[in-house]
Each structure stands twice: as structure tokens, then as C-alpha cells.
Amino acid sequence: MTRRDPRSSEHLDVFIPMNALSPSRYWLVLPAIFSAFALGAVAAPTTPEPADLLRQAVGEVLAISNAPGATPASVRAGVRPLLETYFDPLLMTRRSIGPGWREFTVSQQQRAVTLFTELVLQSYADKFTPGLHPVVVYRATVELAPNRQEVPMSMTTDDGQIVGVAFRFERTAAGWRIYDIVVEGVSLVANYRSQFDSIFQTGGADGVLSALESKIEENRSKP
């Protein structure tokens, strides 16, 4: 979700018609310009940080799960748009497919994003059930690269199982977005990468698309 911060750089747009100022007034205007320059540098990038976004997302998911009268179907239906909000389908797909992505045509890339997003939603939306009360402990954010961060956390389920989960975020033009989930050391992206690599080597981009279509159909046909 995109939020506009009141201090964002969009509020610092300044247009000064230079010919409207007499030379003597330049001296008066220059400090203002430099002040604005400095203010812009300080106040610009204030989108919500990954850890805050994750807390917010977890809070929203638990609110849906614990809503009065929640059913498996209502939780799935409620969680799905949340996943679509916090995840970046393009990032997740291209990272999962890996270097082979460059050999996809634009239309194949678009198709891959649509199909892979559907598969991930099929996979993850079903994991959320009514009445979830995990104890969530957030760990310190880890910087993976200049524009990538990982927020690790541990969840203790109702039956005492501890599950280590890490959410990997990348900074996009729309703010930080999740591109990978690592559950108990198993990265969703790396796991699919190992499968896509093999399929791509034998069947190319068409093979990957066809495998995705078959899997989605197979899942849909299940009761």
C-alpha cells in the first residue's frame, strides 16, 4: 500500500521564475533555495520501514483470523488481498525464475508473473485459518544489500512449536515490498528457483509457463 508522507519530497516542488527576480533579490532567494535543498535531502525518503510494514501486516492478518464468526473461507478471502498488497509479484517471480528470466519475451514475463502469483496465493492463502494466536517475536532487521532487508521473527504456535520465519523486502518505487519468505531456513524463492532452473533447461520459457499452468489447474481441480 502506498502512503504519502506529509514531509515527502512531493511537497518541496519549487518553481522560481528567474527573470522575475532582480539581481539584488538573488541574494535573498539563494538561502531559501539552499534551505529547501537541505530540507529536501533530510525529509525525502520516509516510507514505512520493512519492520513496521511487517508488524502492520501481521496485525491485519490476525485481526481477520480472529474476527467473530471467521471461517476458513472468510479468512482465505480476507488474507488474499493483503498478500497482494504487501508482496511484489514481479520481484518474486523474476527472482524465482532467475537468470532465465532474461530470455523470456515481455508477454511471457507478464504471463509468468500472473501464473506464479496465482500459485503462491493458492499456496499461502490456505495456510491462514480462523483463531490464530501465535506469539510473535520480531528480531533485528538485517541489511542484505543496499535496497534489500530481511526482517526475521519467530512464531510460537498454540501447540508450542517454534517456527522461524524471515521476510525479505526490497525497496521499490512504491515503497518496501516483500519478495521472499524464508520458513525454517527454506526460502520460497530459492526453492522455486531450483525447480524452475531444471524446467527451463529442458523446456525453456514455454516449459516454465506450461508447468505453472498445469500445477494451478491441478490445484484448482482438488476438492
Partner: protein, 253 residues
């Protein structure tokens, strides 16, 4: 003609102001959360290299196990879930987990995790006594004995720097590697349900206890397996990658 110095100051000022304005625009552009381009952002999620020299055998065994799970284990597991009430299933799960205390304790000690070994002992004592032979996990209600990641011999071997070796798919037991195969042998020696006792019909009793343990542990395992299989494009590769990555994470924590 205007004095040269006045012209010069005016031009200079105009240029400085223009530069400042351009700088402001740059500040605006830099302030927007646009990511820096990276040299190859597709190359950093590649799974680590895997040793799988027995891949043909492993794939065949994977299919055999898959058939067994669907046609043998799953029906039994579903029957167990339908006939045994949930509180009893939970109690049995707690009981058998509590029995595996020696595996966790020795696994912790071998990694010099003495604090964890001490807390494991505390959990075992609390659950065995107050928790009625381990059927009730009372330790969860004691803050200093809160659940922790469990240890085993395979993890201890990994923490000593021993690599996983070739990936293996074992009959019925499923995915493993050479290191964990050795670790499983150690685990078996430390699991009381496998110990030999000298009592009447010892063999039959042991078989019965082990069967109950096997059946009670299957529903959760099968749920995870099914979920994993449902989302995989190549289930063998997905399970292999997940198993190896998960074990490495368990060794690190």
C-alpha cells in the same frame, strides 16, 4: 554598455541560482524511493550446489515413498485422526516427544549448548512429574522453560563442521543425507522406545509402542508433506532443496 563587473556578478548569480535549482530537482529525484540499479539481482537467490550422485535411485525411491504415503500411511493416519479424540492425540504427541529427551539433551551437550541442555532437563523433569509422564506439557507455562529449537545428533555432527554428503532418499523414512543417516543411528540409540528391556513379551510391547509413536506422528508430517507437494512443480527437487536448507538452518540456530 553595462559595467563588466556588474554583468559578471549578474551572470554568476544567475548561474548559481540555476545550479541551486537544478540541485533542488536532483534532491527531489534522490528523495524519491527509487532503487539503485544492481549489477545482477537475479544471481543472488540461487540455491547452493547439492551433491546428488544417486539421483536416479533417489527419484525412484521418492516415487515409491510417495505411493506408500498415499496408499498406506495416509489412510491409517486419517483413521487415527477420526477415531482418537484430539486431547488424547495431543497427549500422545507430548508423551513421545518427552521420551525423546535423551536425543535433545545429548545433541545439545555435543554442541556445548549447556544452557539449552539444562533447560531440556528442566522441561523433562517438569513434564514427567507434574505433567503426568509427559502427557501434559506443563513446561510451556514456566517462562524459563519456554519451548526452544530441538537438537539431535545429526545437528551436532553438522556443528562440528561435517558436511551433509550425498543427498539420500531412504525407504519409508524419506529425505536424508549421509550425515543425517549417521545421526539417525545415534538418535535411535538414544530413543527409549528403541531400547531393549528384559520383560514379558518385550519384543511385542516394543513393536506396539513404536507403532503407536509412528502413527501418532504421521498426521502432522503428512500435512506438511501434502502442502509442500501441492505447491511444487517438481516435488523431488522441492523436497530435496527444502530438506537440505532446513537442516542447515537447524544447525546454525
Amino acid at each position: 554598455m553595462k559595467p563588466f563587473h556588474r554583468f559578471s556578478t549578474q551572470v554568476l548569480l544567475r548561474r548559481v541560482a540555476a545550479l541551486a535549482f537544478v540541485g533542488l530537482l536532483f534532491a527531489h529525484a534522490l528523495g524519491a524511493p527509487v532503487p539503485e540499479p544492481e549489477p545482477d539481482d537475479l544471481a543472488d537467490a540461487a540455491p547452493p550446489p547439492v551433491s546428488d550422485p544417486f539421483i536416479r535411485f533417489n527419484r525412484a525411491m521418492f516415487d515409491v515413498n510417495d505411493w506408500l504415503y498415499r496408499n498406506g500411511v495416509q489412510p491409517v493416519s486419517r483413521g487415527y485422526e477420526k477415531t482418537v479424540p484430539r486431547p488424547l492425540r495431543r497427549g500422545l504427541d507430548n508423551f513421545f516427544n518427552n521420551l525423546r529427551f535423551p536425543v535433545r539433551f545429548v545433541g545439545s551437550v555435543l554442541q556445548a549448548k549447556f544452557g539449552r541442555a539444562t533447560r531440556e532437563t528442566g522441561r523433562f523433569l517438569a513434564n514427567t512429574t507434574i505433567g503426568i509422564a509427559g502427557f501434559v506439557r506443563v513446561s510451556d507455562r514456566i517462562p524459563v522453560l519456554a519451548p526452544e529449537p530441538t537438537e539431535d545428533i545429526g545437528q551436532a555432527l553438522g556443528s562440528w563442521g561435517i558436511g551433509p554428503g550425498p543427498f539420500l532418499v531412504l525407504p519409508v523414512l524419506g529425505p536424508s543425507d549421509a550425515r543425517d543417516l549417521l545421526g539417525r543411528v545415534g538418535d535411535a540409540f538414544l530413543t527409549p522406545t528403541a531400547w531393549r528391556f528384559d520383560y514379558y513379551r518385550e519384543w511385542e510391547v516394543r513393536l506396539a509402542v513404536q507403532s503407536v509413536d509412528a502413527v501418532q506422528s504421521t498426521p502432522e508430517l503428512l500435512r506438511n508433506y501434502d502442502a509442500f507437494r501441492a505447491n511444487a512443480l517438481d516435488p523431488y527437487l522441492a523436497v530435496r532443496n527444502a530438506y537440505l536448507a532446513n537442516r542447515e538452518a537447524e544447525i546454525r540456530r
